[in-house]
């Protein structure tokens, strides 16, 4: 069985193509690659539940970079967020939920989460303002 490189979940400084050795049918074909820290390693499926319809939702990194903004159409909203290698600051997310334009009004809700490859659900407990 020939050896090969898989996705290597640690940030690497460069990109390399790794060719299979030997004389078989895979000889010379790439079997894996290294990624930059800024490259996502998968998708974080974030589901916000118990939302008040009409609420403005902003998902941003804790550094303040926008990930996604939308207005809730339903009580549950699903966000597909890139997940990066563990330790990457881009995985540290802040979720803001606000409803101050039209009644009923709610106190701004805010929480933090960390993106990982996979999914998570957050119950949003908005308090009437």
């Amino acid at each position: 069985m020939s050896s090969h490189w898989g996705f290597y979940p640690v940030a690497q400084p460069a990109v390399y193509s790794i060719a299979a050795a030997g004389i078989g049918p895979n000889a010379g074909a790439p079997t894996g690659r290294l990624r930059l820290p800024t490259d996502p390693i998968g998708t974080f499926t974030l589901t916000l539940t118990n939302l008040v319809v009409g609420s403005a939702i902003r998902v941003e990194t804790q550094a303040g970079a926008l990930v996604e903004y939308r207005v809730a159409d339903a009580a549950s909203e699903v966000f597909s967020v890139p997940a990066y290698a563990p330790g990457n600051a881009a995985n540290d997310l802040r979720i803001k939920v606000r409803k101050g334009t039209a009644a009923p009004f709610y106190v701004p809700y805010e929480t933090l989460t960390t993106a990982t490859v996979g999914s998570a659900s957050i119950y949003v407990s908005q308090i009437p303002d």
Binding site: Y69, K99, G100, T101, F105
Partner: protein, 478 residues
């Protein structure tokens, strides 16, 4: 105009007015409206115009409790959002705290029944706050007042709300703004019907009046002895009490430049910390032609016509009125009638045992224990039935007895002081004046067994604060 055009919010959280608030022209926004506006902006995906608030930033504000248009809302601006003093004048009905509690603007509402356009002024740390309201606001007075700055309450949060317009009764209320929210000041004013002088005329009279603080012991001669007062109002002898009242009201008015008891008249309240206040009329009120001075003030230089038209409250809280001088008069008599008027004993006779006295032979002074204050200062004393006139009264002593005490003197004998004990020389006969103390009944006898004999007449009369009078019925005894 709307709230989003009246204000801008820069990137540092400075909420600033577009134009200065003009009382009487602009309307104030409630603190809830400010919060609602900020929250409206805060869920926008991005800021726009000159209001740099959106979901990109932190929550700009929060309320203590839920939104309720019927209640004053305590609003906290987060974390860098802030008003400046000028911008705060645009808001009412609640409070605004900012700078992590470093600054607080608290709502103030004035309640009460007031004359239209009664002006309000507010003192903080004994200084007037520059007005950012109009007199017409009294109908619905709601503003914010800065209560805290730099993390420290201003004068512990205390303010005093005044309304002192010359021509009206005055009012003031102590409020504390430390708790935020909206604090209430109860103010009540009415037209003062005793004010007829113009403010200028009242000021002119004020300039003739001496008002000085300092302990003074004064005896009004009303039988209460000397009393302590804490200040003296000195009239010039030509100022009536009603004029003095108006001048003193002017001195305590908002526009006054006078100093009263060491403080500006516009914030003078009382002469001594222990006294109750006369909020409506700080120097005393005027009613029914009488000046009821506030506690602690003694007045002097009163015109003769006004000698009875005032009342004082001594430092000890006792009411002090000038003495009332009255007389007893009997009419329906003729010259030669003998008239005797003295206290009734309640049993159909004269109270001949009013006093018990002792005196040495030849004495011209007799000490009368518990001599009543309504004893005339001169007249007659009957001792053991003997008639002596006296010419003076000093404490319990009657002096100038004539004739002097007879040989053997008096030893614990009954005595009384008749109000009239003399032969009439005309159709009426009156007692000497005496100081009225309380109502009592006199019995009077009119007799004539001489040249114009009559059946002895006897009756009673009441002595009140206006004196007493009776009329003899002369039935010939022929």
């Amino acid at each position: 105009m709307s709230i989003n055009t009246d204000f801008s919010i820069d990137g540092s959280g400075n909420i600033r007015q577009a134009t200065a608030f003009v009382p009487g022209t602009h309307s104030r926004y409630t603190t809830l409206e400010l919060h609602a506006w900020l929250q409206d902006l805060a869920d926008d995906s991005a800021s726009s115009g000159d209001d740099l608030v959106s979901i990109l930033g932190a929550n700009p504000s929060e309320l203590a409790g839920k939104r309720n248009v019927a209640r004053p809302m305590a609003l906290t601006l987060l974390p860098a959002m802030n008003l400046n003093d000028a911008t705060s004048q645009w808001f009412k009905f609640g409070s605004v705290e900012q700078g992590a509690g470093d600054a607080l603007y608290t709502g103030l509402k004035v309640l009460g029944t007031n004359v239209a356009n009664s002006p309000i002024y507010i003192t903080q740390a004994n200084a007037k706050i520059t007005k950012y309201w109009t007199d017409s606001d009294i109908a619905n007075f709601q503003i914010l007042v800065k209560a805290k700055a730099g993390g420290a309450l201003i004068d512990s949060g205390n303010i005093v709300v005044f309304s002192r317009k010359y021509g009206q009764t005055y009012s003031h209320f102590d409020a504390n703004l430390a708790a935020g929210g909206e604090q209430v000041a109860a103010i009540s004013t009415a037209v003062d019907g005793n004010i007829v002088l113009s403010a200028g005329a009242a000021e002119t009279i004020w300039n003739t009046i001496g008002v000085a603080t300092g302990d003074t012991n004064q005896d009004l001669g009303n039988g209460n002895g000397s009393k302590l007062y804490k200040g003296t109002i000195t009239l010039n002898g030509t100022t009536t009490l009603t004029q003095a009242y108006q001048a003193l009201m002017w001195a305590c008015s908002e526009a006054s430049t006078a100093t009263v008891a060491g403080v500006p008249g516009w914030r003078y309240r009382k002469l001594n910390a222990a006294y109750s206040e006369n909020a409506a009329t700080p120097m005393g009120n005027f009613a029914g032609g009488k000046f009821f001075l506030a506690q602690g003030w003694f007045i002097t230089g009163v015109m003769a016509a006004d000698l009875k038209n005032y009342q004082l409250i001594a430092h000890d809280g006792t009411l002090q009125s000038p003495p009332t001088s009255v007389q007893v008069q009997i009419a329906g008599v003729v010259s030669g009638d003998y008239v005797l008027v003295a206290r009734d004993d309640g049993s159909g006779g004269i109270l001949t045992s009013e006093y018990t006295v002792s005196a040495s032979a030849a004495a011209t002074t007799v000490t009368v224990p518990s001599l009543k204050t309504d004893t005339p200062s001169s007249g007659v004393i009957r001792i053991a039935g003997n008639r002596h006139t006296y010419s003076g009264k000093s404490g319990s002593d009657l002096t100038g007895l004539s004739p002097a005490v007879p040989g053997g003197g008096y030893s614990s004998v009954s005595a009384f002081v008749p109000y009239i004990d003399a032969v009439a020389s005309g159709t009426t006969i009156s007692s000497a004046s005496f100081q009225f103390s309380s109502n009592f009944t006199c019995r009077y006898r009119v007799r004539n067994g001489g040249g114009s004999p009559i059946v002895p007449f006897e009756s009673t009369l009441s002595v009140t604060e206006v004196g007493g009078s009776g009329t003899a019925v002369r039935n010939a005894d022929a």
